[in-house]
Symmetry: C2
Subunit: 396 residues, 2 copies
C-alpha cells in the first residue's frame, strides 16, 4: 500500500487539474476523511482564485501595483492614461478591494461596535437604527452585540471587538455598580479605542456619557402619582444600573411627600431564565405585587419599557381595571400607548437624541482623539412625563 504525501505545492497546482487526477487515481485508497480535507482545500483555493487582487489589476493595466493603488485608492496622482487603464482593468476583473488588507495598513476598520442589552427591545433597536444611519453616512459599519444584561458576555464581546480593532465603541453597559470598579474591567475600557457610554453611567469609569435623567424622570412620575392621590406606590425593576437611579428618584419623591414605602413595594427580584428588565419579569413581579387585595399598591410604576409591557399583560390577566383597581405609569413611550383603554401615561425619553448625540461625539472622538468641550463630557437628557389616562385621580 502506497502512502501519500500531499503537500502545499501540490494544492497550488490545482489549476492544472492535478488534484482531480490524483483523486480519481486513488479513489479507493484514500479514506473519506482525507478526501474531505482535500475537497475543502480545493474549495478554499477555488474561492481564492476568483478573487482578483490589485496585482491582477496592475498587470492587466500594464502598470505597477503602486500606480494601480494610487488610481483605485484615490491617493497620490496618476496620469490620465494610467487612470483609465487601471479603471478599465478593475472593471473588467470585477475587482473589489480587500478591506482587510487596507485595514492592516491604514490602521482603521471603519467599523464600530455597539454593545446593548437586547436589540429586540424597542428602546435599543431605535437607538441602533439611528446610530447605524448616522454612521453609514460616514462610511462606518455597525457590529451589534446583545449582552442580555450579563456582564460576562459584555466582557467577552469587548475582547472580540478589540481583536477586530473596531474604530469606536458605544456601550450601554451591563456592569452593575459593584462590578465596575474591578481592575480588569477598567483595563478593558481604558484601552485606546474611542468609547462612548450610553443609557447608563458606569460608576468609576471616566468616559464620555450620554444618558437620560433617570433620577428626575422617576421622580416626576412618582410625584405625579402622588398628586393624583396615590399613597401606596409600587415600583418594578431589578438588576440594571439605570433602574437603580430610577428607584432613587422614586424614593426621593416619596420622602419629600412624607410617604413611607415598605420594602415589598420595591420589586427587584430576579427570576430564573428571565434576563433583568425583560417582559417576563414585568409579568411575574406585577402578579406578586398585586395578588393580595389587602396589601396591594394603588399604583405601580414599572421602570422600563419591557417591564411596562409585562405589567400591562399581568394586569389584564388578573382582570384588574386601570386606573380603578391599579393605576400605572409606564417607562418609554410607544405607538400604541394612546390607543390602550385607558391610554397609558408614560415617562418618555428620547432615543433619537441619545443616539444622535452619542454618535456625533463618537465620530468626534475618533477624528480628534478628544472632545471639543470637556465641560459637557457627561450629557444628561431630560425626560418628559406624558400624561394620559392611566393614573386616575383619587385626589378629588
Amino acid at each position: 500500500m502506497k502512502t501519500f504525501s500531499i503537500n502545499y505545492h501540490l494544492f497550488k497546482r490545482e489549476k492544472e487539474g492535478i488534484i482531480n487526477i490524483f483523486l480519481k487515481e486513488n479513489e479507493n485508497v484514500l479514506n473519506s476523511f482525507s478526501k474531505r480535507r482535500i475537497m475543502f482545500k480545493k474549495n478554499m483555493d477555488n474561492r481564492n482564485e476568483k478573487e482578483n487582487t490589485i496585482r491582477d489589476v496592475a498587470n492587466l493595466a500594464g502598470v505597477s501595483v503602486a500606480t494601480a493603488g494610487r488610481v483605485l485608492g484615490g491617493y497620490g496622482s496618476a496620469s490620465s492614461k494610467s487612470v483609465s487603464a487601471v479603471k478599465d482593468a478593475a472593471a473588467k476583473l470585477n475587482y473589489i478591494p480587500n478591506g482587510i488588507a487596507q485595514s492592516m495598513k491604514k490602521k482603521n476598520t471603519k467599523t464600530i461596535g455597539l454593545i446593548i442589552a437586547n436589540i429586540s427591545n424597542p428602546y435599543f433597536s431605535s437607538i441602533a437604527r439611528l446610530v447605524e444611519e448616522v454612521l453609514a453616512k460616514e462610511g462606518y459599519n455597525l457590529i451589534i452585540c446583545n449582552t442580555d444584561e450579563d456582564s460576562e458576555r459584555e466582557l467577552s464581546y469587548l475582547r472580540t471587538l478589540y481583536e477586530k480593532r473596531v474604530d469606536g465603541l458605544m456601550i450601554a453597559s451591563a456592569l452593575k455598580d459593584s462590578e465596575s470598579s474591578e481592575d480588569e474591567v477598567l483595563k478593558m475600557y481604558k484601552n485606546s479605542i474611542p468609547t462612548i457610554i450610553i443609557d447608563r453611567e458606569i460608576p468609576g469609569i471616566d468616559l464620555p456619557t450620554v444618558t437620560s435623567d433617570n433620577f428626575r424622570g422617576a421622580y416626576e412620575a412618582t410625584t405625579h402619582l402622588i398628586k393624583m392621590g396615590h399613597k401606596k406606590i409600587g415600583v418594578i425593576g431589578s438588576n440594571i444600573s439605570t433602574l437603580f437611579r430610577r428607584v432613587d428618584g422614586y424614593k426621593q419623591a416619596m420622602e419629600e411627600n412624607f410617604l413611607t414605602f415598605d420594602d415589598y413595594l420595591i420589586s427587584n427580584k430576579t427570576y430564573d431564565n428571565v434576563s433583568p428588565g425583560d417582559v417576563n419579569e414585568g409579568i411575574f413581579a406585577t402578579r406578586e405585587l398585586l395578588k393580595d387585595p389587602e396589601t396591594r399598591p394603588t399604583a405601580i410604576f414599572p421602570l422600563n419599557n419591557l417591564l411596562t409591557t409585562g405589567a400591562l399583560i399581568a394586569i389584564d390577566e388578573m382582570g384588574l381595571r386601570i386606573p380603578e383597581d391599579v393605576a400605572i405609569v409606564g417607562w418609554d413611550d410607544f405607538d400604541l400607548a394612546p390607543l390602550l383603554k385607558p391610554p397609558i401615561t408614560v415617562v418618555k425619553q428620547s432615543s433619537y437624541n441619545i443616539a444622535n448625540i452619542a454618535t456625533n461625539r463618537l465620530l468626534e472622538l475618533i477624528s480628534n482623539s478628544s472632545l471639543s468641550s470637556e465641560a459637557d463630557k457627561k450629557v444628561t437628557l431630560s425626560t418628559e412625563l406624558v400624561v394620559r389616562g392611566s393614573c386616575g385621580n383619587k385626589a378629588n
Copy 2:
C-alpha cells in the same frame, strides 16, 4: 522666514520628545493647520505604541514569533516551558491579538452581514436578536445594515460587506421584482460569499431561502374576514416584494369567494419621506381608505406589522369603532394585541423559526460550501391565523 520639512522619521522620533521641542520652538511660525496635523500624527503614534504585537510577546518570552504564535493560537505544539513563558509574557503585556492580521492569513473574518429594511421594526429586530445569539455561540459577530427598502442602499452595503470580506451574508432584500434580474445585481449576489435569503425571495436569484408562506397567510386572513361576513375588504401595502405575495393571497381568496375588488381597495401608494411599509404609510393609507363612509370597506388588512400599527392609529384618530365600523386583521403578532379593545386578530409568523433555520443553514454553508439537502433549498414556513376579536361577525 524659515520653511519646515517635517519628515516621517522625525515623527518616529516622537518618543524622544523631538516633536514637542520642535512645536515649542516654532509655535508662532506654524499655522494651526500643520500643528493639527502634527498632533494627529502624534496621537496615532501614541496609539500604536501601546499596541503590543506577537513579536513583543515572543521577545519577552525569549522564543521565536512562530512559537509564540503556536502557543497563543493553539495551533501546532510547544513545550510546556514555552507555553508558560509565552502565556506569562502575553498576560504581562496585556496582549490582545490583532484579528485583522489573523483574517489576512486565515481568510476568514468571523463576521456576518445582515441586510434588512429596518432594525427598529420589531419583526426584524427579533430576527436580528436570534441570529446574533446563534452566531455569537459560534464565534461570529454581526454587522447590521438598514436599507429602508431602498435597493441603491442595499447594493452599496453589499459592496462594503464584500470589501470587509464577511464570511457570510443574510439578506431580506429591498430589490423589487423588476430590479432583481439586472446583471449587476446578479453579479453581486453571485460572488463567492455564502448567502442566505430571508423573509422574501429574490426572483431570478437562485440562493437558499427561508421565508414565511406569505401567499397562504394572506389567503387565510382574507378567507376569515369573508367568513365573518365581510365583502368589501381593503388591503394596505406598497412597494415591498413580500407584500406583493400577500396581495396575491388576498386576491385569490376574494376570487374563490366570487367577490369583486375595486382597485381602490388595494392601497399601494407610496408617500414622500415615508419608506414603504412604515407606520406612516399605514396611517395615511388607512385615512384615505376609510374617509368616505359611502365607499369604505367594512374590513381592512394591513399587510405588515408597522402598517398594522399605523392602521390602528388612524382608526383611533378617526373615532371609528372596531369591529362595528371597520374590522381589521393585522400582520405579525405583538405583545399588546390581546390587550387592545377589542383584541386584534393577526397573522402570526415565526421570526424565531426564520432566524434559527436561516442561521443554521448559513453556518452549514460556510463550513461545507454547500447545503446537505439541496431538496429543501427553499424553505417556506407556514403562518398561523390568531383569531381574537377584531373581525366582528356580520355573517349571523
